[in-house]
C-alpha cells in the first residue's frame, strides 16, 4: 500500500459512484487489547461482501483521511485512513495504520466479491 493521494482517491470514488459494489468495512483494536490492558474497552467490527451502491462520495481531512459515501438510502463512513492501493484484481483498498504500523481500519470496495 502507499500513502493516500487525496486527488487520485477522489477520482476513484467518482468513478465507482453508481456501480453495484461489494464492501469490506472493518475496525479493530486487536483481540489482545483487553489482555494487555485490563481497563481497555475493546470494540471492533467487520462486514465483508455486503452490497453497496453510492450516489456520490468524498475524501476529506488533512490525513489521516475520512471517506463518506452517500448511498441512496443511507451512508457509509470511515475515518483514520492513511494508505491505499488498487490491487491487481481491481479491488480498491483503503486502510488506516496506527503509528506502529498495525491495521486499525479497513475500507474496501470491489465490483467482484472479496474472497470469503
Amino acid at each position: 500500500m502507499k500513502p493516500i493521494d487525496q486527488k487520485l482517491v477522489q477520482q476513484t470514488i467518482d468513478e465507482l459512484a453508481g456501480k453495484e459494489l461489494y464492501v469490506h468495512l472493518e475496525t479493530t483494536n486487536g483481540a489482545y487489547a483487553t489482555h494487555k490492558n485490563q481497563g481497555f474497552f475493546s470494540v471492533g467490527t467487520f462486514l465483508r461482501n455486503a452490497r453497496i451502491k453510492y450516489v456520490q462520495g468524498k475524501i476529506t481531512g488533512p490525513g489521516p483521511y475520512r471517506i463518506g459515501l452517500e448511498l441512496e438510502g443511507g451512508w457509509a463512513y470511515a475515518e483514520g485512513l492513511t494508505d491505499w492501493e488498487v490491487d491487481d484484481q481491481n479491488q480498491v483498498l483503503f486502510a488506516g495504520h496506527d503509528p506502529d504500523g498495525k491495521l486499525a481500519i479497513a475500507f474496501q470496495l470491489s465490483e467482484k466479491p472479496f474472497r470469503k
Binding site: M1, G30, H35, G101, K102, R115
Partner: protein, 224 residues
C-alpha cells in the same frame, strides 16, 4: 515417547511462542506431528514492518509463513480447515466438532496439544479448544488421547493451579526463534526486542523461550 502428536490451533503462529520447542522435541525424536490450523489469520492487525501485506494479501503471505514454520518444525502433515479468522466461535459447533472428530479418528494421536478452553484469551482460541475437547469427550474412554492444554489468560493459574506439564526446551531455543521469525508479517515488530532480551539473558524472555507449560485437560468421564 508419543505415537503421534496432533496439534490443533486456529491461527498460523499460535504454534510458535508456547509450543514450538515441544513440537521440535517430538519431531526430532522421530514422532510424527500433524498440525491442524483452522484459519490463515486473515484478520490479523500486523501487516509486517515495513508494511508487506494488506487485508487481501495477508492470507497468502501467512500461508507461506505457516508452511515455512512447519518445515522448520519438522511437521510433514499440515491440514488447513479453510475457516476465517475471528469467526470460529460463530460457526456451526456440531459441524466443527465433527470435523475435529474426523481428524482425530484419522490421525489416531496419543497426544493432542491445543489451547485450554476459557483460558486462552482470543475467542478463536477458546472456541477451537472447546470443539477439540468435545470431540475427545465423545470418544470411548479407552481410545481417548491425552490432551495438553495451553492457558495464558490473566489469573488462570489462580483457578487452574500450576501447570502439571513443564518442558525444558532450551535445546531447541535457537530453532524455536527461527520458527517465530518465519511468521515475519506478525513478528517482525517484536523480534528484534525479543532476540536482544534473550541474548542479554533477560529472565522473563529466557523463561519464555526455554520453558513450555501445559495443563493436562481433565476430560470429564461422567458425560457419557
Amino acid at each position: 515417547m508419543e505415537r503421534h502428536v496432533l496439534v490443533i490451533f486456529p491461527h498460523p503462529d499460535d504454534e510458535a511462542f508456547g509450543v514450538a520447542g515441544t513440537i521440535l522435541s517430538h519431531t526430532q525424536n522421530g514422532t510424527p506431528v500433524t498440525y491442524v490450523c483452522l484459519t490463515l489469520g486473515e484478520m490479523g492487525r500486523n501487516m509486517g514492518r515495513p508494511l508487506i501485506a494488506n487485508r487481501e494479501t495477508l492470507p497468502d503471505i501467512r500461508k507461506k509463513e505457516l508452511e515455512e514454520a512447519c518445515r522448520l518444525l519438522g511437521i510433514e502433515d499440515l491440514r488447513r480447515f479453510g475457516m476465517r479468522d475471528k469467526t470460529i466461535e460463530f460457526t456451526d459447533s456440531e459441524l466443527l466438532i465433527n470435523r475435529m472428530k474426523e481428524v482425530i479418528d484419522d490421525v489416531d494421536p496419543s497426544l493432542i496439544i491445543t489451547f485450554y478452553p476459557g483460558y486462552a484469551v482470543h475467542p478463536d482460541h477458546d472456541a477451537t479448544a472447546a470443539a477439540v475437547i468435545q470431540a475427545v469427550q465423545r470418544m470411548t474412554p479407552e481410545t481417548r488421547p491425552t490432551v495438553h492444554a495451553l492457558a495464558f489468560s490473566e489469573g488462570c493459574e489462580d483457578i487452574l493451579g500450576e501447570p502439571d506439564i513443564i518442558h525444558d526446551v532450551s535445546a531447541h531455543a535457537d530453532q524455536k526463534m527461527k520458527v517465530i521469525e518465519a511468521h515475519e508479517s506478525q513478528t517482525a515488530g517484536v523480534l528484534q526486542t525479543m532476540k536482544q532480551r534473550f541474548m542479554e539473558n533477560d529472565e522473563t524472555m529466557k523463561e519464555r523461550m526455554n520453558t513450555e507449560r501445559f495443563w493436562t485437560y481433565p476430560i470429564d468421564n461422567k458425560n457419557e
